[in-house]
């Protein structure tokens, strides 16, 4: 059809037919994932975990032993508790970098309240509760600073991270407090079904977090905020309350992780959480929770923790150089992010 020679009247009739066709086309239009891709996003991390297990089982006869799996479980307990809290923050599209600070404070304070070799206090299990409560308080402060001062969560929590480390260092006595409460030490070191009781604490946290995520307004509203904060606000959701609660819960989990680390190590330490922030965020991302919020969940994060746990354990067994291990972990994070966000690419989207 030559574009310049069509008489107007004829074009008008042709177009009238074209119009109904076009209309129908608009209604049927799908701009979403194919079912296959969607399944890949949901189950991909689990497939990666399974593949890693197969690879290491083939590469090292020691990998699939009960002993080794127990080791992986024990090492994963504290990271699992941490992701239980942080996942809600990431689902909202925010971030909490302060967990090492929260762990430092709770570790030093709880060690000084439990029977120890520095002072005369002996609060026993009450000290555990106080430590966890401190974590909750820490998180609530994060949440209030974030919502009331309207500062980005990243900046608020970088600040409170170092404030936490500072407070812990100030409270830290002349020499490191050693826990002398035998029953608490024993509780965290004793094993049940071959693994530390802390593993069961972690699994209980996963259960609680899953129920919160799936069956409560709090959990669903975290998803709503991550999916579109403006829409959520216009729908009349109590955004600030949800945000403060999410940061409070993340603080609570960090406090619990701090106490767990203290009783396991037997000492209160400013470094109780050192080096845990990056693996925790990595685990959440690898599990398939988007840093931009709205998608993912606690079970994803659990898989993410296990992927990182199996990976570092397996590479040690196979005898991979420590520096290469880091590089591999970094590469896995990039692959995971590509897998979870591939569908969202478009020409005009701004990536920052």
């Amino acid at each position: 059809m030559s574009p310049n020679s069509v008489p107007n009247a004829a074009t008008a009739t042709v177009a009238a037919e074209g119009r109904t066709r076009q209309r129908r086309g608009a209604g049927d239009r799908v701009r979403s994932l194919t079912p296959g891709l969607r399944r890949l996003r949901t189950w991909g991390p689990l497939l990666i975990l399974a593949a890693l297990c197969v690879i290491f089982a083939v590469a090292s006869p020691r990998f699939l032993t009960v002993d080794n799996l127990q080791t992986i479980a024990n090492q994963s307990a504290i990271p699992i508790v941490l992701v239980c809290g942080l996942t809600f923050i990431v689902i909202m599209g925010s971030i909490d970098l302060s967990l090492e600070g929260a762990m430092a404070v709770t570790s030093v304070v709880s060690a000084l309240l439990i029977a120890n070799d520095v002072n005369g206090s002996d609060l026993g299990y009450l000290a555990v509760l106080i430590g966890v409560g401190l974590g909750l308080l820490f998180g609530l402060v994060n949440g209030l600073l974030y919502t009331k001062l309207r500062l980005p969560s990243l900046l608020v929590t970088v600040g409170t991270w170092f404030v936490g480390l500072g407070i812990a260092a100030l409270l830290f006595p002349a020499r490191q407090p050693r826990i002398s409460d035998g029953s608490l030490r024993a509780w965290s070191l004793d094993t049940l079904l071959g693994v530390s009781r802390l593993v069961f604490v972690a699994l209980a946290c996963v259960l609680v977090a899953y129920l919160l995520q799936r069956y409560t307004k709090f959990g669903r509203y975290c998803f709503a905020i991550g999916g579109g904060e403006d829409t959520a606000r216009l729908s009349g959701l109590p955004l600030d309350r949800v945000k403060v609660a999410a940061f409070g819960f993340a603080g609570l989990m960090a406090g619990l992780a701090g106490v767990m680390a203290t009783t396991r190590l037997g000492v209160g330490s400013v470094e109780a959480g050192e080096g845990l922030l990056f693996p925790t965020i990595s685990a959440i991302v690898i599990g398939g929770t988007l840093l931009s919020g709205g998608r993912g969940g606690i079970l994803h994060s659990l898989v993410g923790v296990l992927i990182l746990g199996v990976l570092s354990n397996g590479m040690v067994l196979v005898g991979v150089d420590a520096y290469v291990q880091q590089a591999v972990q970094g590469a896995i994070i990039i692959v995971a992010v590509v897998l979870t966000t591939w569908h969202a690419r478009s020409r005009m989207r701004v990536i920052k």
Partner: protein
């Protein structure tokens, strides 16, 4: 005739540099469907958003059943019985259909903080049955096609019927733009049903749809209510003329400056282009030194077409030739490289570097002619920048002023100037270049367009008004629903009547 349920008087809403609503008064009576028509930017969406609690007014009052209300959120408006069917933008794509329908509403299935999913799904299914669809309430909204999302929007508002026990006022904002013919029928049936106990305000670009469902029609233009007509009495073409405003003096568009005989080389050749599901099989030729107007209402696909030509949307089929060479732009930067320029309608979002000064904005699209190697030398650029600011008649104290501190008209001149500085520019696309500008600035922009065409540039113009299209363009193509419905090849010697053009557009 029953008493008005909703009385809006003297409503005014200002945004920086723009008056979105200027002293608007409307009434909606009990059990009545009121239509609202107007072009993009005429203020009809602002009016609906204020009623629905999305925005707040700067002046004026809203009375609902005689009492003054000021809804601060959609939820608050819902409590009062005002619900709005948005253009697919009030749904959260990552939540299920059931959650979205009841989000922010006090429903027994989510009371006391616990979700009872079974009860929630059952309740959602009851709402979905009203719109005759079998969408699974457990589906995540992001996985639905747009038409179905729009229907979920409808179900979300219909859910108010059971949750609020006052007569409802339901606002529909362009509900039909993504619906299929069958879905539109369901929508109209629901509107007829709602009418028995509610009041409805219906907004659409498609005048015939508005006339089909409404009893009265308000026409909006430039933020003002310009007419109120009984739907039976109003003719479509008359309403359209009210929408686009009065004819203005012809020479205002510098028609005498149109090139009578054009430079006769083919610049851009478009064959069978389809894109973005909104453009189907479009072909045209564009010669150097001519201005081609694309005329069409919202949903005609002309915006999507020019975005596809510029590489901002992928082509699903068809081909483009620029200067006789096959061109397939995979990104706007490739299009710019090849000599395409684009002045977008969303000046603030896409056209200018907000927060940067005039100098940087002017040179942003020019390539190597101002550069020496990879370095930017502002001193070398300065004389060129000064000259162009003068030629463009930009009123600014210095090139170091930030662009967002200028008025809209001066901003637009700088954005246009950015493309004029580029020595490789072959085709310039102007997407609503005068939107929001005052008369003087509009005149300057028209002068620029004529100068550019006289200089041999090929220009594609998308305009808000027919007068502008007919006054500025050498050729006009009318579009409707993604296809070309008519062509006027020689507007200089044989100017088409605006009635003919309107008939092809609506």
């Amino acid at each position: 005739m029953s008493a008005p349920v909703l009385q809006v008087s003297g409503l005014t809403k200002r945004f920086p540099g723009v008056v979105a609503l200027d002293d608007v008064s409307v009434e909606v009576r009990r059990e009545e469907v009121v239509g609202l028509i107007g072009q993009n930017g005429s203020g009809k969406s602002s009016l609906l958003k204020i009623l629905a609690g999305v925005q707040s007014a700067d002046a004026g009052e809203i009375r609902l059943r005689g009492e003054v209300i000021r809804p601060r959120s959609v939820a608050a408006a819902n409590q009062l019985g005002i619900g709005m069917v948005f253009q697919e933008q009030s749904l959260l794509p990552n939540l299920t259909v059931a959650e979205n329908i009841f989000l922010g509403k006090d429903h027994p299935a989510t009371r006391r903080g616990w979700y009872r999913w079974g009860a929630l799904r059952t309740a959602a299914r009851a709402q979905l049955r009203k719109i005759e669809t079998d969408i699974d309430p457990g589906t995540v909204v992001g996985e639905l096609p747009f038409g179905q999302r729009q229907m979920v929007e409808l179900a979300k508002v219909l859910a108010l019927e059971e949750l609020v026990d006052v007569p409802l006022v339901i606002l529909f904002d362009e509900p039909t733009s993504v619906l299929s013919g069958a879905e539109i029928e369901i929508l109209f049936r629901q509107i007829q049903r709602l009418r028995e106990r509610s009041s409805v305000v219906f907004v659409s670009h498609r005048i015939e749809e508005v006339l089909a469902v409404s009893e009265r029609v308000y026409v909006m233009s430039d933020g003002r209510r310009v007419a109120e007509e009984a739907a039976g009495a109003a003719g479509m073409e008359e309403l359209y003329r009210l929408m686009v405003g009065e004819d203005r003096a012809e020479d205002y568009y510098r028609e005498e400056a149109r090139a009578a005989a054009n430079v006769d080389d083919l610049r851009l050749s478009v064959r069978g282009v389809s894109a973005a599901d909104r453009v189907a099989d479009v072909s045209f030729d564009l010669r150097a030194g001519t201005v081609l107007g694309l005329a069409g209402v919202g949903g005609s696909g002309r915006e999507e077409l020019v975005r596809a030509l510029f590489g901002a949307e992928p082509l699903t089929s068809g081909s483009i030739e620029l200067d006789g060479h096959r061109a397939s732009f995979r990104s706007p930067s490739q299009a710019v490289e090849a000599g395409m320029g684009y002045v977008p309608a969303e000046r603030k979002l896409e056209g200018m570097l907000a927060g940067r000064d005039l100098h940087e904005n002017l040179v942003a699209a020019s390539g190597t002619q101002l550069r020496r190697g990879p370095w930017i030398d502002r001193r070398r650029e300065r004389p060129v920048v000064d000259e162009w600011l003068a030629r463009l008649k930009v009123k600014a104290p210095s090139p170091r002023v930030r662009i967002d501190q200028l008025s809209g008209g001066n901003q637009q001149k700088v954005v246009l100037g950015k493309w004029l500085l580029s020595d490789r520019l072959r085709v310039l696309i102007l997407d609503h270049p005068t939107r929001g500008l005052d008369l003087g600035a509009k005149g300057d922009v028209y002068d620029l367009v004529r100068q550019l065409a006289a200089g041999g540039l090929a220009i594609i113009l998308l305009s808000d008004t027919l007068e502008e299209t007919l006054g500025l363009c050498d050729q006009v193509i009318a579009m409707r629903d993604g296809t070309i419905t008519g062509r006027f090849e020689d507007c200089v010697n044989d100017k088409p009547e605006s009635e003919d053009l309107i008939r092809l557009m609506v």
